[in-house]
Symmetry: C2
Subunit: 207 residues, 2 copies
């Protein structure tokens, strides 16, 4: 159609957990592909742990099911090869990511949110860094913002903790059961393998 | 490389359960794609139920986790649209498929094994037929073999039941925890989303 009214830009929500291995793949890939099809990314960090607890799980399903865990490590290595992403298996799993997650939530609407999230993910899954430490998170914030210290301080306040709890509850209430999860409007797509489908849906939905 | 010694044809094993929704997608898709890249398909029907029991699960994870189940039905509908496959959600789930599975195992090396498996899958996921009934399985065997009656009779013997138990135990021992699962040699790929990766691996492995 030509000469139609201007449409609002298509948007895709990426709900992710920094300690989720398949979230790593999507966080690293989404912005480049989304930009190439004119879709805006909305960054939605949350915590899988409290959602797993509602299923009666005490930890990652990759630990509760050793066969699935063993497969996952091999699979993600192959997927990183396919996508050209760096990869080094974290020594400890699940990884502690609370501070980085609170900072990511506070900064989610910043134009540099994607760059920050990719830096954190690279620290976790390629550099074996501890992103629950203020030094590492401060380094990831680097030259992205002049307010790194203020942001780190804000991330430790009760308000930031409450916001992350609310964000996680919003994920659960929307039917999120794993990560990464994409939403295009109310349409939900689960897993890095659905990134392209979700973006195609966003492009079609925007007409 | 030219003038190299002839290689044995590349092969891919498809381990599937007739009552597995994502197995439906792979059973319907695999032979066409595999043929186009010169890879031979080996049909490996088995039962997920006994493997789920070893995880302490009493039924399908899609029933144990209602959020995941609700998502799965929407996802598979979208995937069928993407692949151009017929789809009608079965009224009862999980579906009873024991007789069809035993017949598929007895016929797994027949040149018409793929056609039989696709017919059964179509009955389950597009036509709401009961494939635990001899009439339906006999109809699926149709003109594929002159021995339909003998095959149906053999499928009810203790030997056929034992073979399916052994096949399922072989799956478990190989690390299979879900379906579909592909093996190329000892390399394992889980899920319909990995079909193309597994075939690419088979093609590379065959040189």
């Amino acid at each position: 159609m030509s000469a139609s009214a201007p449409q609002p830009p298509a948007a895709i929500e990426l709900w992710f957990d920094f300690s989720s291995v398949y979230s790593y793949l999507s966080v690293m890939r989404i912005e480049t592909i989304a930009q190439s099809c004119g879709v805006r990314v909305q960054w939605k960090p949350f915590l899988l742990g409290p959602i797993f607890k509602t299923f009666g799980w005490t930890t990652s399903p990759f630990l509760l099911q050793p066969q699935k865990g063993a497969y996952m490590w091999r699979d993600v290595e192959r997927q990183c090869g396919k996508y050209g992403l760096p990869w080094r298996r974290p020594r400890d799993f699940p990884v502690r990511t609370l501070l980085a997650t609170r900072v990511a939530l506070l900064a989610a609407d910043e134009p540099w949110a994607g760059r920050f999230c990719r830096r954190i993910m690279r620290m976790i899954f390629a550099e074996e860094r501890n992103v629950d430490a203020p030094e590492a998170v401060g380094e990831a914030l680097g030259e992205l913002t002049a307010d790194a210290a203020a942001l780190l301080a804000a991330a430790r306040l009760e308000e930031a903790k409450g916001r992350l709890r609310e964000q996680t509850e919003a994920a659960r209430a929307s039917g999120v059961f794993g990560a990464p999860t994409f939403f295009v409007g109310r349409e939900m797509f689960w897993g890095n393998d659905r990134l392209e489908d979700a973006l195609a849906f966003a492009t079609r939905a925007a007409g």
